[in-house]
Each structure stands twice: as structure tokens, then as C-alpha cells.
């Protein structure tokens, strides 16, 4: 057994298996910054996944897959925006409904396509090779961490780039400032001439599109094998919690994803690490498997408590108008 290889593999796994959380989290941050709480992340990711995968394969192009996943997510976001922004529906209920609806679409479309012949990823060279690991020159040769951190597929790098770009957008552009203003106090933003509804529509669609790409990633990482369980597997819900952990900052979301991913991946790699370092880390194998299964959720709960304490001290990124519908005539 290659002991250092186990560590490298662990680092690699943390990133590979948890990047969809980053997409979900960053997408949800964009949505929430506009003052809308969309609990339909799971469903949005599922819709992006199924359409992105199928069209990506039919076109035999990873790029088309990413584009379709984004569009499918964005259209799903449009539905959310129409219901909550234009028709003033309750955001929580709408989000939950969209989760059910999205999973329904996922299985309906998936089973329909499966009955006529499921596209197998291995047959679509461009998709398969587009999703293959890309070594970053020099950096990927660093011992121990090089292959773990700097040898990943295109969508991992894209996820990080999107997170950084969204962070910059929110923090350093005037449009980002306007968006944050809407999330804090839409009436005030309206009074200075910002088109609140238009901004909300655009950013809900944008955020949901990003979630859709995350769903597509999950499908690709499962090699596009469609079975009786959904590819998203609850990641959409964890993303909703990670938004709070990240304090509504896409930059912190990158960090949060990997902290959460560390515990999430222990279930996969914990016993391997114990076997590689029996003297120092052998105890990892003695932890019951159920503990590993529960750990990510325990961590989520702890983080939510810690952040809520921190937020009471007044450094919260929580948009003040989050979850409240804005109705112009109510001003």
C-alpha cells in the first residue's frame, strides 16, 4: 500500500466528491442575495443534471452539456421567480414544491429516455475526455498534494472560477452592490431607481443556472448511470445549509465546501487512512461506520449553531429582506 498515495487520494476525493456542493452553494448565494430564499436547490440540480447529461451526450460535447444544464436550471429558476416575484407566492412553499417537481422531472425524463435507449457516457468520447482530469503544469508535480489538488476535471476548475467571479461581482461591482441593496431593503433600492423585479428575475435565473451545472457534475461523476436513485442524493439540501456556514460569501463557500467535504469523505477514505498509518491514525477504523455517516450532518448542525451565535454579534451576511416578497404597492 502506497501510504502517501492514500493521503493524495484523500485530498483528491475531498475535491472530486464535493465540488457539486460549491455549485449549489454559490448558486443559492446569488439567489439569496437578491432576497429570495429558494429551497428548491435539490430539484434545480436534478433538472440541470438530467437535461445537461442527455443533451451533452446527444451532442457529444461537454460544453453543450454545461450550457444545457445551465439553461435548464435557469428556466427552473424562472419558474421560481415567476411564482414568487410576480405572483407573490410563499417562497418556502414554492421552493419545496420545486424540489418535488424537479425530482419528478428527473425521473420522468430519465425513465422515458431509458425506455428508448440510455446514452452511456463511455460511448461519447468528447464528454468522457472533457471530464477527464487535467494536470496543471508544474503544480501537479508537487509531491503529496500536487495530484490531489492540481489534477482535476474541467468542471472542478470552473466551479472555483465561478465562485471567485461571483465573490468579485458581489463585492466589487456596482451591479453587485445594487443586488445586495435589494436583498437588504428592496423598497429603498427601488426608491433610488433600481428595477427590483428585473434584478430579482435575472439573479434567480443566474443562481439556479449555476446549481444546474452542479447537478450535471454529479451525473458525470456517477458516469451517467441512471438507476432508481437520484444523482443529487441530498446534496442540494446540504448546499442550503452551507450558504449559512459561508455567511453568504462565495469565497468562504469554497472553504466551507472543503471543510464539509473533509468530513463527508472520511466515510470513504477513513478506513484506508487507518490502514496506511496504523500507529498514529489506526483509531479512525474503530469509529463506527454510522458515526461517519452522521458526521457531515453533525458538523452542519454545529456550524449552524456557531454561525447563529456569530451573527448575533452583528457580522452576518444574511440579507435582511431574505424570504420576504417585495410588493411595490406595499411601500
Amino acid at each position: 500500500m502506497d501510504k502517501l498515495g492514500v493521503i493524495t487520494s484523500f485530498i483528491h476525493n475531498i475535491i472530486v466528491f464535493n465540488i457539486p456542493l460549491l455549485y449549489g452553494t454559490v448558486g443559492e448565494i446569488v439567489v439569496e442575495k437578491s432576497g429570495s430564499l429558494n429551497l428548491g436547490v435539490e430539484g434545480t440540480m436534478a433538472v440541470g443534471a438530467i437535461f445537461g447529461y442527455i443533451f451533452g451526450c446527444y451532442a457529444n460535447s461537454l460544453g453543450v452539456g454545461i450550457l444545457v444544464a445551465f439553461l435548464a436550471g435557469a428556466i427552473f429558476g424562472l419558474l421560481f421567480a415567476a411564482l414568487t416575484v410576480s405572483f407573490q407566492a410563499n417562497q418556502n412553499i414554492t421552493g419545496l414544491t420545486l424540489t418535488t417537481f424537479g425530482l419528478g422531472i428527473y425521473f420522468f425524463v430519465g425513465n422515458s429516455v431509458k425506455s428508448t435507449g440510455w446514452p452511456v457516457m463511455a460511448d461519447y468520447e468528447n464528454v468522457k475526455e472533457g471530464f477527464a482530469d487535467i494536470d496543471i503544469p508544474l503544480l501537479s508535480d508537487i509531491p503529496l498534494i500536487g495530484r490531489g489538488i492540481f489534477s482535476h476535471n474541467l468542471l472542478v476548475y470552473l466551479g472555483i472560477i465561478i465562485a471567485v467571479a461571483v465573490w468579485w461581482y458581489l463585492k466589487h461591482t456596482s451591479l453587485g452592490l445594487r443586488l445586495r441593496a435589494i436583498g437588504e431593503n428592496p423598497a429603498a433600492a427601488d426608491s433610488v431607481g433600481i428595477n427590483v423585479n428585473r434584478m430579482k428575475y435575472i439573479h434567480i435565473c443566474l443562481g439556479c443556472g449555476i446549481m444546474g451545472i452542479g447537478g450535471y457534475y454529479m451525473g458525470l461523476n456517477m458516469s451517467g448511470s441512471f438507476n432508481s436513485s437520484c444523482w443529487i442524493n441530498g446534496y442540494g439540501w446540504i448546499a442550503v445549509a452551507l450558504v449559512i456556514f459561508a455567511n453568504w460569501s462565495p469565497a468562504v463557500a469554497i472553504f466551507g465546501t472543503f471543510v464539509f467535504g473533509f468530513f463527508n469523505t472520511l466515510r470513504v477514505s477513513g478506513t484506508s487512512i487507518a490502514a496506511a498509518f496504523p500507529e498514529t491514525l489506526g483509531w479512525l477504523a474503530d469509529i463506527p461506520a454510522q458515526m461517519y455517516q452522521a458526521l457531515p450532518f453533525i458538523i452542519t448542525a454545529v456550524v449552524l449553531v456557531v454561525t447563529s451565535i456569530r451573527n448575533k454579534r452583528g457580522s452576518s451576511g444574511l440579507p435582511a429582506a431574505l424570504g420576504l416578497n417585495y410588493f411595490r404597492e406595499d411601500r
Binding site: 452511456v120 463511455a122 444523482w231 470513504v268
Partner: protein, 408 residues
Amino acid sequence: MKKFIALFLAALMLLSFAACGDTDTDTSDAASTGESSSAEKAEFKVGAIYINSKNDTAGYTFAHHSGITSAMKQLGLNVDTQLFIVDEVPEDPEQVRAAVDTLVGKGVNIIFGISFGYIDALEAAAKEYPDVIFSHATGYKSNETNFNNYFGRAYQARYLAGIAAGLKSLQTGNNNIGYVAAYGTEYAETASGINGFALGVQAVNPNATVYVKKLNAWADEVNESAFAKELISSYNCGIITQHCDSAQPQIAAQDANIFGCGYNSDMTADAPKAHLTAAIWHWDVYYKTAMEAAMSCGTADKFVSTMGTPAYYGGLKENFVDVSPLSENCAPNTDTAIKAVRELIISGEWDVFSGVKLTITAEGTVTKADAALVDNAGNEIVAAGGASVADGVITGTMNYYVAGVVEA
């Protein structure tokens, strides 16, 4: 206006009654004019309680549903009118009970419950409804009249798959074999499968090690993929096998350009470049046997005596378990070796967990020699030359791994 609405609703209700009535007559018509010749056959009704959806396209419920429908077709029964299903029933006694009541209300003759956790509810129901036959998959409870259980010697099929894996490991020179398992020694079902497979591997390649990674869940597709990838990257496994539903481990093996042995269904289509062969079930074999017994036994209380045993435990001999057709990825002579061992098992001359060890060469020749069966802590399970471990141990209490198995 109100009156009008009330009238409309009343009319609607009448219509819906009429609609119900229609379907009822349809069903009875179909039943009475069914193609089967004997009246008994035409009136025979099958009930089934599933843990997942009957519409699944893969997995455990799918395997049973296919088995039941296939057996009914073989017997000339009408799946549309003579099969009643309650699906997505969790392992909760009250819900199982409700499902049983529903099916009894439909007048079924036999009820198949496919999930282990239905055990107590079915036992109680068998007592309460002595006129109905209850048949429980993977369980261990039964009575002498109308309640039996059924399971298969999957370990025999696993042993054959292990031979294919062993020969492949000799060919590639990689002695590490990964096993993505739902559970390990917690369940005799998984432990016997792992042990059967490992013994098959070692008959060919005594230097091979089987690394078992436990999911601690019967189905968890995302982690089935992750665990296989981890076995490949951290343990440098050259062959991946599995005790879980999805084909993810096989697909992961194909992506890593290594090989694999599937389970439950022929996974060659899922991973054509990696898959060797899979240990598979022919559930229809049991369902056909059970339905025939149920139709011929007259009254429900004679079912168990007609079956001959309260615990049906079919194996290679009954064609209840087998390996799927060997793919072209298999090493040379795999076919010869598996054929020879299959014959030894079917003839009853030899079985997997006994004090006799088979040695299989790369040329496919099989030789027998007395050797003790030892667990991976060095304890002797069966002395050299000793008889096979009892069926009750294999299905109920096997809680060890044989030598050469390591929990990863």
C-alpha cells in the same frame, strides 16, 4: 346556483360509481374468460409486497418483480388480472399488516413478502389468515402449514465468479481485489458472499487478497461509486466486485481500465470493457415452484408439506443462482474451470465451505485436496477433510471472514 352545484356533484359521484363498477366487471370477465384451461388456475391470485416501487428498472425489487411476472407467464397466469401488488412498503409491522389486509381483501391465494424486515408481521399474519399462504424472502421464520421462507446459495455463484476473478488476477499479475459490500460480518448474507468469492479467488491465486469496503447501507449509489474508486486508488485493486445494487463499481472499474465482477444482474452491458461475469439470481425458479405448489396443494395448510421444506434454499443445482455468461474480458480457460467446478457442486460431490480445497491452475484443471477452512484471525472453522458448514450457519450465523480477506 348552489342547487346546481350540488346536483352537478351528485351526478359526478354517480358517474364515478359507475366507473368503479365498470372496472370490476372487466376484471371478473377477464378472469372467467382467461386462457388457462383449469378453473383453479384461472381463479388463482398472487399477492406481493415490495419494499421499493414496482416500476423500478433495476435493483432488488425489480429482480423480484421480474421473477414473479416471469414465473406467472411460464405458468400461463395473467399478470394483469391475477397479480396484486402493494409496493413501497417500509419494514414497519403496521404497514406490512395493512398491505397484507389489502391483499387478503383482494382474495389472493399466496402472498410473497420480499424484504427481510417483514418477518414478524408475516409470521403473525400467517397465524391470522390460515387460508392464505405466506412466503418470505431472505427470512428464517416459518411454520408447518402456510408460512415458509426462501433464499438461495449465492455463495456458490460467488465462488464461480471468484474463479473468473482469480484467473484474471493471475493474467494481470495484480493480486489486489476490491469488494464493495453493503455490509460485512454483520450479516451472514454478505459474509457468506464475501467468503465464497474469496475462496474462489484463492483456489486459483493463493496470493490474492480481497479488500472489503463496507457501505453500511443496502443501496447507496453515490457511495458505491466512491468506494470503488477509493479501492482502486488507495489499494491499487485490479479487480472490483460488489454486493450492492447498482453497476457503479463496475463502471468505476472500466473508467480505471481494470476489471470487475458484478452482482444481481449481468453487468456486461454497463461496463463492457471491464466486466468479467456476475453472480446472478433466477428468482423465477423459486416463484414458479412456489406457485405450482400453491395451486396443487389444495388448501393453504398443506403448502409447506407440498414444498417439502419450510425453508427453500436453492443453489446452482436448482438453477436458482448462477453466473452470467462470461464476457470476452475473461482470462483463457475460465470457462473450463467454472464448468468443472459447477459440476462438482451440482453433483453434490463438493461444496464451498468444507474441509476440502480446490486448486485450479491457469490451464483450468481442477484438483481436490483436504485442507482446513481457516478464518482470517487464524481460527479453524472446518478441519481438513471435514464436512461442509451447516446451512443454518451460512444463512444465519456466519460472522467471520476466511483467510485472505481484509476489511479496508
